[in-house]
Every structure is written in C-alpha cells, then in structure tokens.
C-alpha cells in the first residue's frame, strides 16, 4: 500500500479545488437554508448558469473573458429572480420540489441537442480560460512543502478560490449580525409573524435566494476555470445534495460551518476512496473491485448524512438550539 500517496492526496484535498467549489456552493446553501430556512434544492443550477455564462460568452461567441464573468453573474441574478417569483410563496416541501425541477430544466437545456450550437450538448464547452491563466502571476513550476504541492495553474486557481471563500465569509458574517440577518432568521422561524411586524417577507427571501445564488455561483466560476471546461452533468442534483450534506456536517447557520464542512467532506471522501483502492489493488480486500470503490464512497456519504441528522443534526460546529430542521 502506498501510504504516502494516500497522505498527500488527502492533505491536498483539504484545500483543493473541489473543496473550494463545494465550500462556495455550501456557503450559498447556508444563506438560503441555514439562515433563512429556504429549501433551495436548485443550487447546482446556479453554479451551472455561472459556469456556462462564462463559457458561452468566451468560447461560443468569442467575446472577452471579463464580459463572460459579468454575464455569468448577471445570469445568476436573473435566474434567481425568475426562480424566486413563482416559488418563494410556496410551502417548504413544494419549494424543494420546484427548485429541484427548475435545476433539472436548466441542466436538460444545457445538454440538449437543440441548443448544441450554444451550449455544446453533453460535451459542454472548453477553451475559455486562456485569459484567466494568462493573468497568473506565478511562474511555471511546482509550489509546496515536501511531497505536498500544486502546479502554478492549480495554485492560481486556489489562491483566487480561497480569496472568494474569505470574502464571502466576511460578507455573511457582517450581514448575519445586522438587523438584516435578524429578519432572515426570523423568517426561518415563522414568516407570518415577521409579516405581521411589517417586514416584506417576499423581498427578504428573494434577497437571500439571490445572495446565496451569487455566492454559490463563484463555485461555478472556480470549477469552470480550474478544469477549463463545463459539462452539463457536473451540475446535477447530486452537487446540491452534497452541498446540503456539507452544510449539515459543518453546522447550519454558522459562518465557517460550510467551509470546514467542505474540507472534512473531501478529506474523508479522498481518504476512504484512496485507501480502499489501494487495499483492493494490494489484495487486502477481495470482495470488491477498484471500480466498485466509487459507489462505496458515495454510499458512505449517504450513510453519513443519515447518521449526522439522526444523532447530531447541529453538525460539528453548530448550535442545536439554532437550526431549522424541526420545522416544516
């Protein structure tokens, strides 16, 4: 068994690209679900809309990179608004179903043959990240300590990604201790009560949905740039479900909960996956093949989500008195 490789990949996973992408997605979910009680199960679509916004502008239409970023952000805001208008008046369970349906609609459109000229069908889009890597201030080479390290491209993505995570956390921290955040938390508890106190509940929910979408969409940009491509199936419902798992793992309604949750989630996933693969190929485990390791990892995600909610719904860092799981 190659313990060094396992160690290196595991440690790198704690700060890696996936962790950044999922931390941003989960930070958005935390604003919507953790603080406001909005069961938005369409978070994947926000990442997708942002990633595709950038990719389509640059690679389909050949327009500048920065315009792609602006269009991606604007599309996310518009999408949040369009999604919010019909759904934010619905009960929590209906909201969950409708948002998941909306996200699937978006994914089906991205992968459709009818729009293949624009979105590239199931292959997605590539060749739009040139400008981004041209801006890379790190000269080519390997950066790191001992066996741990990243190439200059990955480092550039990570520096920017973690900067976005930091900015988002700061914004969430400032907002949630303000009266604005108080209204959101009150809406999570009982929106009729908030309405009776003269607050425009719909407007606050919309603001939360848009803010959560925008924070999540940074994850879409990071994904698109890190892998220099977007494919429709990356933005499926499971991305959203993992983001929820991460929020609950870290602790809902905690500023840093999703970030720590994302790190732990990916460390565990990589550690379990690599250890099992190594064990299988070294012959220690004989009842499964290396291709079966993938499913086992995600079975464990499901099992972990169940156990967390049953035994520690406040997650690792949450406050049990302050989570929205016992409400409708």
């Amino acid at each position: 068994m190659d313990w060094l490789t396992i160690l290196v990949t595991t440690v790198e996973a704690a700060v890696g690209v996936e962790t950044v992408v999922y931390a941003l997605a989960a930070l958005g979910v935390n604003i919507q679900f953790g603080y406001s009680g909005l069961l938005n199960f369409g978070q994947a679509a926000f990442l997708g809309v942002a990633g595709y916004g950038l990719a389509v502008i640059v690679s389909t239409f050949g327009l500048p990179f920065w315009l792609g970023i602006v269009v991606g952000l604007a599309s996310v805001v518009v999408f949040a608004f369009l999604l919010g208008v019909p759904t934010l008046k619905l009960r929590a369970d209906y909201l969950a179903i409708v948002t998941i349906a909306a996200a699937e609609i978006v994914r089906l459109i991205f992968r459709s043959v009818a729009f293949k000229d624009v979105f590239g069908g199931s292959d997605g889009r590539r060749a739009f990240s040139g400008t981004f890597y041209d801006m890379n201030p790190f000269p080519p080479g390997q950066y790191g300590i001992g066996p741990f390290g990243f190439s200059e491209r990955v480092l550039w993505v990570l520096v920017l990604g973690w900067f976005l995570v930091g900015i988002s956390c700061l914004a969430i921290y400032l907002l949630m201790k303000s009266p604005w955040g108080r209204v959101l938390k009150a809406i999570r508890e009982d929106e009729d009560a908030v309405r009776s106190l003269g607050k425009n509940v719909f407007s606050y929910k919309m603001q939360a949905l848009i803010l959560g979408g925008v924070v999540g969409c940074f994850g879409g940009f990071v994904y698109a740039l890190a892998f220099a491509s977007v494919q429709p199936d990356v933005f499926g419902t499971e991305l959203t479900f993992y983001a929820y798992t991460i929020v609950i793992l870290g602790g809902a309604a905690r500023v840093f909960g999703p970030v720590l949750g994302a790190s732990i989630f990916w460390v565990l996933l990589v550690l379990v996956g690599n250890t099992l693969s190594e064990a299988v190929s070294a012959g220690y485990i004989t009842f499964m093949t290396t291709t079966q390791v993938g499913p086992v990892r995600f079975m464990l995600v499901g099992l972990g989500l169940i156990l967390l909610l049953v035994f520690r719904p406040q997650g690792i860092f949450g406050d049990k008195r302050e989570i929205a799981l016992d409400a409708r």
């Binding site: 907002l175 303000s178 009982d190 009729d192 009560a193 009776s196 106190l197």
Partner: protein, 335 residues
C-alpha cells in the same frame, strides 16, 4: 390624557352612549370601517360581514362560537388572506388588497391565536424585530455597522422598557422557545407594541394561558387603551369579555349578528341562540359531531403547546360541501 384611572373606561364607554345595539351601527369616530366582506371556502361561506365599525380608543371584543369565522375575518382585515369581496378602510384609507406587511406598517398590528414567538431568537431579538424603519434592515446598509448602530441602541432601549413593563426583562437573553405559553403571549403582545400601532388586533390573547397570568394579561390590554391605542380582540369566553371590553361584536356562521355594550349583549336572544341554539334542542348530526371533534382536537393541540402543528380549521374541513350541508341542517333545526 392623564386623568384619573377610572376616566379612561368612562371616556371610552361614553363614546358608545346612545348607540343602538344593532349589527353595523355607526360609531362616532371609527378607526376601522368594514363593508360587505365575503370569504368563501368551496361551498362554505366562512365570512359574510355586511358593515362593521370599530370605535377609536376603545376596547372592542369580537366574540362568537367556535367556527363563527372570527379568525378568518381577522385574516381578511390584516391581509393574511384575500377576501372574495368587500372593502375596508383604516383611518380613512382603503386597506383591501394591501399585503399583510403594509397593513402592519400603517399601524394595524395583529397577534396570532397560536403564538408565533420566534423560538430560536432571543427575547430581545424578538422585540428588536418589531421596530419599524430600521436602517440596518436594508441589504447594503447592513454591511456598515456605523450606519445602524445608533438606531439599534435606541430600539434596544425601547425594547427593554417594554420588557420591563411586561415583566420579561429577566428573560431578555433567553431563547423565546424556552418561555411558558403565557410568557409567549406577553412577548407577542410586547413585540406588537414595538411596531407602535394605532390599532392592536389580538386573536384570543387568553387562549392557553395559565389562569394566574390571565389577570396580568387583561391589565396589559387595558393599558393599551389607556395609552391611546385601539384594541380589537377575539375571545370565546364571555366572562373575560365582560370585564374589559367597552363594546362587543358577536359573530356567528360568518356574519355579525349583534353588537352592543358588554352588559346588555349577554342577554340578547340572538347571542344566546348563537351560542346554544341548535346544540341544545336538536341532536348532533354526524357532521356537527365531526366539527366539534376537530375543535376539541385543536384545543388539545394548543394545550400541548405544539407550535408547528397545523391547526385544524373548523371553517375549512376536508370536504367543503358537507359543512355547508351541516349549516343548512342547523338552520332547519333551529327553525
């Protein structure tokens, strides 16, 4: 304003002197005027109020048997439910079609039958939420603490004064969920006052409250009037109504059937009929038995203090056709 204590009640009652005890009677200085409000659920007409006025500066009680449509009527007036027809004005301004939060901003604030204390916020946060026009509730200004800090301190001070008045000051940093049922009612009332309303609408303020707290709650309701506010409250219990109200409006089967001062309204034959009517001279039909069961069950839920359970709507059972039939049967029975 600062006359001797007895003056408030006398003054409020003087306004009603010489009024006829008829449904829809005109008041000398109405703050709220309601015309032809109708709300139907399928085949059942839950509310059908022809004309009602609420006198400014008084305590008006809205009473009626279970399922009379009191809460539904409240929901119409406060914008929580849309009326099928009708028009009403508050301080002369039309209020129909105005969404709930704008109704509250205009100075007409309600409480709920099942208390809606925000249980995962502290008592003080609950209170602060009630304040209007907060700069820090704007998304962009929320980022800059210096913009809203001063206002927040003023709000906190006012909240603390109110909490002291309602004897909740020792609980200020507790989660509202840890309060007893009666304390939650007090908190909800105090929070409503943070809005600085002109008209306070209380939906069964005494329901589920420990008898020891009832007197203090009644005292607070009287205080509201003495501070110049108008109070409209829903209640089942006629004894409690007699004690504090200046005027009583009686609803039954969605309509206002009688109005009058508390002393005389209790002996009104229409009111006695509404409360006892069909029930004491005809055996219960199956549907009526079902309705009663539902009502009893809703009360049980209240007692258990289940905040998140959906209450049964006695006005709105599963099959709207049946209660309509039931009310027809009732009419036949009383005829």
């Amino acid at each position: 304003m600062h006359a001797e204590p007895i003056g408030f009640k006398a003054k409020a009652q003087a306004a009603f002197a010489g009024l006829e005890s008829e449904p829809g009677v005109r008041k000398p200085d109405p703050i709220l005027v309601v015309d032809k409000v109708v709300r139907r659920f399928g085949g059942l007409t839950a509310v059908d109020v022809d004309h009602v006025e609420i006198q400014r500066g008084s305590i008006t009680a809205l009473i009626g048997p279970n399922g009379a449509g009191k809460t539904t009527f409240f929901n119409q007036l406060t914008g929580f439910d849309t009326a099928d027809a009708g028009e009403w004005t508050f301080n002369g301004a039309r209020l129909n079609g105005v969404p709930a939060h704008k109704v509250a901003r205009r100075g007409m604030v309600r409480t709920f039958q099942l208390t809606k204390a925000l249980s995962k916020l502290t008592v003080l946060e609950n209170m602060r939420l009630g304040a209007q026009g907060q700069k820090g509730e704007n998304f962009f200004r929320a980022f800059v603490q210096s913009i809203w800090r001063g206002q927040e301190d003023a709000i906190t001070e006012r909240a603390e004064q109110l909490l002291e008045r309602f004897k909740l000051d020792k609980k200020r940093d507790d989660f509202a969920g840890s309060l007893s049922g009666g304390q939650r009612k007090l908190l909800e009332m105090a929070r409503a006052l943070m809005v600085e309303p002109e008209l306070v609408m209380l939906d069964e303020p005494m329901a589920g409250v420990n008898p020891a707290l009832t007197q203090s709650l009644l005292g607070h309701v009287k205080d509201l009037r003495d501070q110049g506010m108008t109070v409209l409250f829903v209640e089942h219990d006629m004894d409690m109504v007699r004690d504090i109200s200046d005027w009583v409006i009686v609803m039954a089967q969605g309509a206002v059937i009688a109005e009058g001062p508390p002393d005389t309204i209790m002996s009104d034959s229409r009111v006695i009929d509404a409360y006892l009517g069909a029930h004491h001279d005809a055996p219960l039909s199956q549907e009526e038995a079902e309705l009663q069961l539902q009502a009893a069950e809703a009360e049980l839920e209240e007692e258990a203090g289940i905040e998140h359970a959906e209450p049964t709507e006695p006005n709105e059972p599963a099959e709207p056709a049946e209660p309509a039939a039931a009310s027809e049967e009732k009419k036949e029975a009383s005829a």
